[in-house]
């Protein structure tokens, strides 16, 4: 049982149990050498890749390390902007005479939200 489950439940964790749980989290970070600066870098890079295809709400993006089920996980939470989903499209290079140089698709979902 994790320390947080303890907190939610009735039983208070003993100092020994707290130490063990805290160590697990701290070691998860240490082992991956994930300092806050690196996490911020990863966040920016994921965002730039995903934003090419989807309009992500930049301010809401969260990238965190979690310890779940005995494994270390990188969890990225990237809410898509409500009002639109944007696709950008580059035409295939084998159609040199194409007039289309750049395509953007906006999907407006604002109305669905009200239904």
């Amino acid at each position: 049982m994790g320390v947080f489950e303890f907190m939610a439940g009735k039983k208070k964790p003993s100092p020994g149990e707290v130490a063990k749980e805290r160590l697990k989290v701290v070691l998860a970070h240490d082992r991956l050498k994930l300092n806050p600066e690196l996490l911020e870098l990863i966040r920016g890079e994921i965002l730039s890749v995903v934003s090419r295809r989807l309009a992500i709400d930049e301010d809401q993006v969260q990238v965190n390390l979690a310890h779940e089920g005995g494994a270390e996980k990188l969890l990225a939470n990237m809410p898509i902007k409500r009002e639109k989903i944007t696709f950008e499209w580059d035409p295939p290079s084998h159609t040199p005479n194409s007039n289309v140089l750049h395509g953007t698709v906006h999907v407006d979902t604002t109305d669905d939200e009200q239904a």
């Binding site: 100092p15 020994g16 063990k20």
Partner: protein, 278 residues
């Protein structure tokens, strides 16, 4: 002769490396092995005093490496064990006075004469630590059951792996059974689980260690002391004997778990991927 070079290290200072080196060295010599213990803590000489040999030092490790004396001249014979020798650290020299190549050569030289070469590593992850593991076949990690020590131990395990050494084994030192029983201290199984490491021994917190250090006679000489017995058992495990753990606090089912963690049964879970850079 297949001699073994074993380094005792920890990352964090003050957890019991020097105490462990002195006791394992003495215990192995008492089992009839020819042993040399090296004080790798240049500038902070300590092992000599724990062994009660502080008044016998003429030359030291740096003198040997720099060719100021021959290796034999620097080796100090123990007072009681015929087959135990100390190679002391330099006290007034810079801790970077020795490099890795010199240290490896020294280990090679000592292998010719001894069954066991035990190296007492300095704290930290710098040159002194790297020197202490460069020539080692095996690594023993000493840790206390508390956050900072276990965290540093994890870091050291990563660096040991990165250096291409076999998986280290753990001596968990200064365990306080009554605190574990109350839930106020991490249990042996907690530390093993968090570190995913094999156990070599568990040494209780014991006044006998301080008394022994005061006298300059390692605790393994006194069979009545729990810490002395624990170090003797660890030495026997180094020699390949299967010695059960003293029942310090764990219940029978936990002892069963421990047996498995110590490699007497199927392994528990996978090894974590540790950061291997310093």
């Amino acid at each position: 002769m297949d001699s073994r070079v074993i380094t005792i290290t920890s990352g964090k200072g003050g957890v019991g490396k020097t105490t462990t080196t002195a006791n394992l060295g003495t215990a192995l010599a008492m089992q009839g092995k020819k042993v040399v213990v090296i004080d790798g803590d240049i500038g902070l000489r300590n092992l000599d005093a724990v062994l009660g040999l502080e008044n016998h030092i003429v030359y030291d490790l740096v003198d040997v490496v720099e060719g100021q004396c021959r290796l034999r001249q620097a080796l100090i014979k123990d007072k009681r064990q015929e087959e135990l020798y100390l190679l002391p650290a330099a006290q007034t020299r810079d801790k970077n006075a020795v490099n890795s190549v010199q240290m490896e050569q020294l280990c090679q030289q000592l292998r010719q004469e001894f069954d066991f070469v035990l190296i007492d590593s300095p704290a930290g992850i710098e040159q002194g630590f790297r020197n202490s593991i460069v020539g080692a076949d095996e690594i023993i990690i000493v840790a206390n059951p508390e956050m900072a020590s276990v965290r540093d131990a994890d870091r050291i395990i990563g660096l040991v792996e990165a250096a291409g050494k076999p998986e280290p084994r753990l001596i968990l030192n200064r365990l306080r059974a009554e605190m574990v029983k109350r839930g106020d201290m991490m249990a042996v199984t907690d530390v093993l689980e968090v570190l995913s490491i094999d156990l070599l021994g568990v040494v209780p917190e014991d006044e006998a260690i301080i008394i022994a250090t005061n006298k300059g006679e390692p605790a393994v000489y006194d069979k009545r002391t729990r810490a002395g017995r624990a170090f003797t058992h660890a030495a026997q495990r180094i020699l390949g004997e299967e010695v059960p753990l003293d029942d310090l606090v764990e219940s029978t089912s936990l002892l069963e778990r421990l047996r498995r963690l110590m490699g007497f049964g199927p392994a528990l879970g996978e090894k974590p991927v540790r950061s291997q850079s310093s």
